[in-house]
């Protein structure tokens, strides 16, 4: 089991979700975050005040998957989130000790398998 954490552009979120659903990845959590990853600086001016925005709006996606689902998940995110410019984001794949499904108490692989799909 792995935890896939992806940080992507907010304007690409819709395409990423589409790609994930298409790849049968149906359980995920998203949060709006701000980050810095070497993008070109954004300069904004409010009256006489000019500021450099060091942090960009991003969306962080967390997905717990069984091992054989890591690659399709990563490929789906990579394909949908890429624009080719600096600032497209990162994907982290982390080992996971245990996953529990709260409703049933199922553990690990059964817990990350979507409802209605027999754990393969």
């Amino acid at each position: 089991m792995k935890l896939v954490i992806a940080v992507v552009r907010p304007e690409k979120l819709h395409e990423v979700l589409e790609a994930l659903f298409h790849a049968q990845v149906k359980g995920l959590t998203i949060s709006r975050v701000q980050g810095h990853g070497g993008e070109l600086e954004r300069v904004e001016t409010y009256r006489g005040t000019t500021v450099k925005m060091e942090l960009s709006e991003k969306v962080r996606i967390e997905i717990g998957v069984s091992d054989h689902f890591v690659e399709p998940t990563v490929n789906a995110i990579m394909g949908a989130a890429r624009t080719g410019d600096v600032g497209d984001g990162k994907i982290f794949v982390l080992p996971v000790e245990h996953v529990y499904r709260i409703r049933t108490g199922e553990l690990d692989r059964a817990a990350v398998t979507p409802v209605g799909v027999p754990p393969g």
């Binding site: 701000q34 001016t45 450099k52 624009t83």
Partner: protein, 412 residues
């Protein structure tokens, strides 16, 4: 020539200020319906019309609209306000008449922005509304109000159902077609960022519309009172019918629906305001809800990205209002108007059709030509980032976390 009348002048001074306020109000009405990353850009499309169209009106537009050259176009006698002084024009100072009419030119140009929000570059937009106000709005205003051929035909357009609303909507159609749809249109749900803004805008538009319609009597008189009451009554009926349609269709009375219904009622009563009786205004407002309501539903299923439904609200509403004016008008209420007749309905139809065709074709040509000179659309990447940052270097809801102050005003 009657002398200047104090009470007429006082009412037109107030009306001019009220109509000027409608353009910022429109900015909020529109600005609430776009995504947060384009909120400032959408508001600026209205606000900048105050400057660019206002100045174009003072330099050239007023003369094209209200000069006396021919039935098709005014002359150059009032260019740069030459000869527009404090002498009486009707019963108010000429300069006040100019200012009052200028507020109409401004909001009509700003109305078009609803069809091209969230994707058009700001520079070409400014060039477009400036050119449009001179080449489309001013001639059409001349046809109807400036002594031109539609006015001579006997068409009734009290405050601009054709000149303002049909005109802007036809231009909106041409703009939406030439500029093209937003890259996310019909692929992603594009939701309004601030519905209270839209309601605020609709409320302020209604307030301003009393100046728009009742001010168009050009005096503090019985006709102004009639137009004022009708401007109150017609939208009440539209709002009620719209809410009922919402309830019947989805079991929910939507807030954006209410805001839209109010605007549609105001649009529909605009050509009729000073020519029809109060109960006729109620009928007009109620009837006008249906075509616009269903036009909105239909448009959303098409490929035409008239993003904020200028055509359904202003085009359909303005056309219905202009035609119903021919059926509901009564000389008993305004001796300068006409009695309802099929003949009058025919004239109303000609006025709408001529405005629609001219505006559609002329706008199409203007935007196409501008498109040859410069890119009309923001780059897809900029459209993704949002036009607030890419066009204006600001954000509507900047949080300032991680912002570093640049003391010399430039990045080091």
């Amino acid at each position: 020539m009657p002398p200047i009348n104090g009470s007429d002048t006082a009412w037109l001074l107030i009306s001019t200020a009220l109509v000027l306020m409608m353009t910022p109000a429109l900015g909020f009405f529109y600005g609430g319906m776009v995504r947060a990353k384009n909120a400032l850009n959408t508001l600026m499309m209205s606000f900048s019309a105050l400057g660019f169209v206002g100045l174009a009106w003072a330099f050239f537009g007023y003369s094209v609209a209200f000069g006396h050259a021919s039935a098709w176009c005014g002359g150059g006698e009032f260019f740069f306000l030459r000869g527009v002084g404090l002498a009486a024009q009707g019963t108010i100072p000429h300069l006040l008449f100019f200012a009052y009419q200028g507020t109409f030119a401004i909001i009509t140009a700003a109305l078009i922005s609803g069809a091209i929000v969230e994707r058009m570059r700001f520079g070409p937009y400014l060039a477009f509304i400036t050119l449009w106000s001179l080449l489309v709005y001013a001639p059409v205003a001349h046809w109807v109000w400036g002594g031109g051929w539609i006015g001579k035909l006997g068409a009734l357009d009290f405050a601009g159902g054709t000149v303002v609303h049909v005109n802007a909507a036809a231009a909106a159609l041409a703009c939406a077609v030439v500029v093209g749809s937003r890259k996310d249109y019909a692929r992603t749900a594009i939701l309004p960022q601030n519905v209270p803004f839209t309601l605020l805008g609709a409320g302020l538009l209604w307030l301003g519309w009393f100046g728009f319609n009742a001010g168009s009597a050009l005096g503090a008189n019985k006709t102004a009172a009639l137009a004022f009451a009708n401007t109150m009554l017609a939208p009440t009926a539209t709002l009620v019918v719209w809410t009922i349609l919402d309830l019947v269709r989805t079991k929910k009375a939507t807030a954006i629906g209410a805001a839209t219904g109010i605007v549609v009622g105001l649009v529909a009563v605009t050509p009729a305001a000073g020519f029809i009786g109060p109960m006729a205004a109620v009928i007009l407002g109620a009837v006008a809800a249906f075509p616009s309501y269903f036009a909105l539903l239909y448009r959303a299923r098409t490929r035409l990205d008239d993003s904020l439904d200028v055509i359904a609200a202003h085009g359909v509403g303005g056309t219905v209002g202009a035609l119903l004016t021919g059926i509901l008008c009564a000389k008993a209420w305004n001796a300068d108007g006409a009695d309802a007749s099929l003949h009058q309905l025919g004239i109303q139809f000609i006025a709408v059709a001529a405005t629609l065709v001219y505006s559609l074709v002329a706008t199409f040509v203007i935007v196409k030509l501008l498109g040859f000179v410069t890119a009309l659309r923001a780059a897809p990447k900029d459209e993704g980032l949002g036009l607030d940052f890419t066009q204006h270097g600001e954000e509507a809801y900047a949080r300032g976390e991680g912002a570093i102050l640049l003391l010399d005003g430039r990045s080091e």
